[in-house]
């Protein structure tokens, strides 16, 4: 039930309008970082204030809301944010990817393919893909305006020269619609191919950095690479120890103090659904 002391989804209507305008601009210019007047939220910066503001701006009373952190619905950040909107918006919640209309995520894209009508909201710590090559915002904005991405290509080249591979395993930079280089938030690069041609709306919110960027449905997203060093989405080379999935991203769990370990799906809904289905089939 909604806490009557709050406006629907916590934020006041003027703020939601301001954020929706930024979202529309971001959808119109895929991959471009739109500055927005991020508000202070009742949670620390760095804990999803950008994602929460996006969810607050897009949620409708009839929505069904899902929140994941590291792929799991039962992690502390996910539980807190889900409770926050249960209390301030009174929306229904779910852990089922297919049943959710809005999904807020920290650092994973669900394994179950998304559909038209769904919105995936990413929590973003540093939205600027060039930030660790050039710390100045005044410079990086100019580089984006001019499409001057030489620095990024040199970085990838130097990685290959030094290590034989691009030394980035998460937050792997992508080119959106052939125009803007974008940071997909710290998702493992295994998830990168799911960004492209996705039927759902993908929104990225960085509260502390006051930026929103977005991918409209079916946007073309290409992970940066070279012809002779093509991008490769990698994951641990094991099946899930719980559900047997071979195509899902895995976490490595240490099970004792003698180095034993097991690999399990990071997407808890995907893993649970598969085990439930197997159990049903067995009966």
């Amino acid at each position: 039930m909604t806490d009557a002391a709050y406006n629907f989804a916590y934020l006041d209507e003027q703020t939601k309008r301001m954020i929706r305008r930024a979202i529309l601009k971001a959808l119109a210019i895929p991959g471009y970082q739109v500055p927005f007047a991020s508000r202070e939220m009742p949670m620390p910066y760095g804990w999803g204030t950008g994602g929460v503001q996006l969810s607050a701006a897009v949620l409708l009373p009839e929505d069904r809301f899902k929140v994941i952190d590291q792929g799991a619905d039962d992690t502390t950040n996910a539980v807190s944010i889900r409770k926050f909107f249960e209390r301030t918006a009174g929306v229904a919640t779910t852990t089922r990817t297919a049943d959710a209309t809005v999904i807020q995520t920290r650092h994973r894209i669900p394994e179950t393919p998304l559909a038209e009508g769904q919105i995936l909201v990413y929590q973003v710590p540093i939205p600027e893909p060039l930030r660790f090559l050039e710390p100045r915002e005044t410079e990086t904005r100019r580089m984006h305006a001019l499409g001057d991405y030489g620095l990024m290509h040199v970085k990838l080249y130097e990685d290959i020269a030094r290590h034989g591979h691009v030394a980035t395993a998460y937050a792997y930079p992508v080119m959106v619609e052939g125009r803007y280089v974008m940071d997909p938030s710290p998702i493992p690069k295994f998830d990168n191919p799911k960004l492209s041609g996705c039927p759902a709306i993908q929104l990225f919110g960085a509260g502390r950095e006051q930026r929103i960027h977005a991918l409209p449905p079916y946007a073309e997203v290409v992970s940066l690479d070279f012809e002779d060093h093509p991008f490769e989405a990698s994951k641990p080379d094991h099946p899930c120890a719980l559900c047997g999935a071979t195509e899902s991203y895995l976490d490595e769990v240490i099970t004792d103090d003698r180095g034993s370990r097991m690999f399990v799906c990071s997407d808890t809904d995907y893993c649970t659904s598969r085990r439930d289905a197997a159990l049903e089939a067995a009966q």
């Binding site: 006041d12 209507e13 003027q14 500055p35 927005f36 007047a37 991020s38 202070e40 620390p44 910066y45 760095g46 804990w47 204030t49 952190d69 590291q70 792929g71 992690t75 502390t76 950040n77 920290r106 650092h107 994973r108 710590p125 100045r136 915002e137 005044t138 290590h163 034989g164 591979h165 030394a167 395993a169 998460y170 937050a171 710290p186 998702i187 493992p188 690069k189 295994f190 502390r208 006051q210 930026r211 990698s234 994951k235 641990p236 991203y249 895995l250 976490d251 490595e252 990071s266």
Partner: protein, 184 residues
């Protein structure tokens, strides 16, 4: 131009002085103190005399857009400092003192003075001084890292689980090490 408002609009860089002062007023005291101290030790030195240092109470009005008017909700204590700094002059303008300004919440003279020194250092461009590379002159560096609520949140988010990104990096390091060993 309407007055810049740091809390209602995204910070755009380079920032005008009004915006810089708003950011400095909200800045972490320790951060300002260290930056101000660094100017005293010669990193963009601008020796200051205290021209004004005072403490007082002001009314707080809250503008409520849904109602369309402002409501006075109380009063707060502020500390204000105005410094008189070393002079500038040119062929056309005779020497004159320059100033720095600090206005902070609460009774905190140390932060008000520190803010005035940092404000003065950030005015290098407008006063025709050189950029010496000193941190206190670098507006983008100072403004981006002064807010301790932002800094605290981002620092403490490291406590949240990161096993997905770590797993991806672990796989990559294992692969690079395996290749290095195979090649050795």
């Amino acid at each position: 131009m309407a007055a810049a408002r740091l809390t209602r609009e995204p910070l755009e860089l380079p920032a005008c002085r009004a915006l810089r002062l708003q950011a400095l007023a909200r800045a972490d005291e320790g951060f300002l103190l260290s930056l101000a101290y660094s100017t005293q030790r010669g990193y963009a030195r601008n020796h200051a005399f205290v021209g004004e240092l005072r403490i007082g109470k002001v009314a707080v009005e809250m503008d409520i857009p849904e109602l369309g008017f402002a409501v006075e909700i109380g009063e707060v204590t502020l500390t204000e400092c105005e410094t008189v700094n070393q002079f500038k002059g040119s062929k056309t303008a005779p020497p004159q003192f320059t100033r720095g300004y600090g206005l902070v919440f609460g009774q905190t003279e140390r932060k008000a003075i520190a803010m005035a020194l940092v404000d003065r250092a950030l005015r290098w461009q407008e006063l025709g001084e050189e950029f010496t590379g000193a941190p206190a002159q670098d507006a983008e560096f100072v403004l981006s890292h002064a807010d301790n609520v932002q800094a605290t949140g981002f620092l403490e988010h490291i406590k949240l689980p990161h096993y997905v990104d770590f797993q991806s990096e672990l796989e990559l390091v294992r692969k690079l090490r395996a290749e290095a060993e195979a090649g050795a």
